[in-house]
Amino acid sequence: MSCLIRAGLSRLFRCRGLYAAMLFSAATAVLCLSGKGTYWGDGSTPVCDFYFCDWLAFFPLSASIVTCFFCADDYRGGAIRSKIVAGYKKPQIYLSNLIVCSFGTLLAFAAGVAACFATAVFHGAVWLTSPSETVYVAAVAIVTIIASAAFALVFSMFIARPAAAVTAVLTVSIGVIFITSNTSGMLNQPKYRISAPAEDLELYESVLDGVKDYDEKVEIAKEYGWAKENPYYIGGAKRVLAYSVYLLPGSQSEVVYDAVDDAIYLGKPITPLLRAPVPCALFSAIITAVGAAAFSKKNIN
């Protein structure tokens, strides 16, 4: 399989999709950062951490572009057949394509990161997450990216016509981004809403100021009758279903965003990010196993 990977990497650099994805990645990164500014502290310094994480949500689209074009070249001229005739098993071809497409997606990510930081420097923005946590954010992003490539590969290996493959993968990726952003919003709804009437505002501030733990806040607020059940909170089986959406790669960027947000505004350590690599890795493993098994049964014409 190492020969297949080497051959694939050689072909990757001739693939139009790689350069299209790098351009797309860089363009979306610049747009995310330039489109809006955010202020913290003295209110005048833009913070680029959030918009970097925001941009990550679009990353599955870059993965789709690389993967679809790379796989389409195999099908377009029928070159995939020569690999099978040469004696390679279909799961080997599938896995080698995953490795090569993941690498291509990482190159597109690197192009986006470079554009992101170049734009940040241009705007005089700051990066507030600590260096060690930044490395961790980057590692999590990489796991997310590989999961995106694995997701796109399932479509690309089964749809031989390049235009149809790109359309299908992009449509599903955009759909997933939409679903996961809404799901994230739903999951972030607290169980209780804490608010006090205007006449209790001073008491509210004195009682709850400095209480950072949400559960402790709720308990105190209940005593004063300030805690009401949130109608938008989802629980039970619906919550389990919503969390399953977190297995999808696009949603992991939401986890990263929230964790960075909490780290900067609330001083929390980025431990929630521990959630992100595990579902991503699990998702990658499951979808790759299913995809490789299905591809091994596929009749190649």
Binding site: C3, G77, R81, K83, V85, A86, G87, Y88, K297
Partner: protein, 300 residues
């Protein structure tokens, strides 16, 4: 005799449609084996299965004695190259780059041999021209070159002359003959152009309805298609005695018919048969062309 490929009761179903129905065949080593059949007979399905692109629904095949379900089939496949239906090429690469890419896939240590392969198939002057700008004949030749990258000793070609002009057909034919005679490569070639196959094949497999109808050598086919006088008599044993006396070559087909591979004097024959107590019932000229022989086997 050593066989490169044998298949035993191969079946292949696509849903409710049965493409192969108990096909068994043997491809002798060193032969040019022509698989002949109508459109939809199962030629391409057979080739796809033996190339590993699809799995049979039932039955098995062996490549160099290794069964298809044996993990060692991978090693056996390294000894074959194939062009299945259309050439397997990267359209955005030049001829040389396509060959280099195949060398990488095969794990060849260097690109030595690329130039020679291009010369062998007549593509040495294509330079950086991309394969998508090649003519059909050039793509076919590139496909064959790619199939030859791993120095296979078994080449499978699925209708390699489809869509080619007469010059292209001649070039492909001469290339195949050269590979077989000079390098000893066994070739399995499928076609429905019988005349073209007859100039190439040393062995034939006639397929119809997913089944092998008949396998025969070129000599056997030639014998079957020879011009002859087909006679119908009341007793072929008596006929045999008479023909032996006349020194004529013949073949007894049944207890009432025989083919005589000469033009006998009918009245002399009739008289000689009468002396043996045998009656000459009919004489007809029989000239079986390859097409008519094929049609007689598979029907119109």
């Amino acid at each position: 005799m050593e066989y490169v490929l044998t298949s035993n009761q191969l079946y292949k179903n696509y849903g409710h449609f049965r493409a192969l129905s108990g096909l068994s065949m043997k491809v002798p080593k060193g032969s040019i084996y022509g698989v002949v059949g109508k459109n939809g007979a199962g030629k391409t399905t057979l080739i796809r299965i033996i190339c590993g692109l699809q799995s049979p629904s039932l039955g098995e095949y062996s490549l160099y004695g290794t069964r298809n379900r044996d993990p060692k089939i991978v090693k056996a496949r390294r000894r074959m190259g194939a062009v299945v239906e259309t050439p397997s090429i990267y359209l955005d690469m030049s001829a040389a780059d396509n060959l280099k890419q195949q060398y990488r896939v095969l794990g060849m240590p260097s690109f030595d041999g690329v130039k020679e392969l291009l010369e062998l198939v007549g593509l040495q002057d294509t330079g950086r021209k991309k394969a998508k700008n090649f003519s059909l004949g050039m793509r076919q030749r590139l496909g064959i070159a790619i199939a030859l990258c791993g120095e296979p000793d078994f080449l499978v070609l699925d209708e390699p002359t489809n869509g080619l002009d007469p010059q292209g057909i001649v070039e492909i034919r001469e290339l195949i003959l050269k590979l077989n005679r000079e390098k000893g490569i066994t070739v399995l070639i499928s076609s429905h152009i019988l005349d073209e196959l007859s100039k190439l094949a040393t062995h034939y497999g006639i397929i119809d309805g997913g089944r092998m109808v008949k396998e025969l050598s070129a000599e056997e086919l030639e014998a079957a298609c020879r011009k002859c006088q087909r006679v119908e008599v009341t007793d072929t044993r008596a006929l045999a005695v008479v023909l032996d006396g006349m020194g004529l070559e013949y073949k007894i087909l049944s207890d009432k018919t025989a083919d005589i591979y000469a033009k006998p004097n009918v009245s002399a024959l009739s008289s000689a048969l009468a002396a043996e107590g045998c009656e000459l019932l009919s004489v007809s000229e029989h000239d079986e062309s390859l097409e008519s022989y094929f049609i007689s086997l598979v029907g119109k």
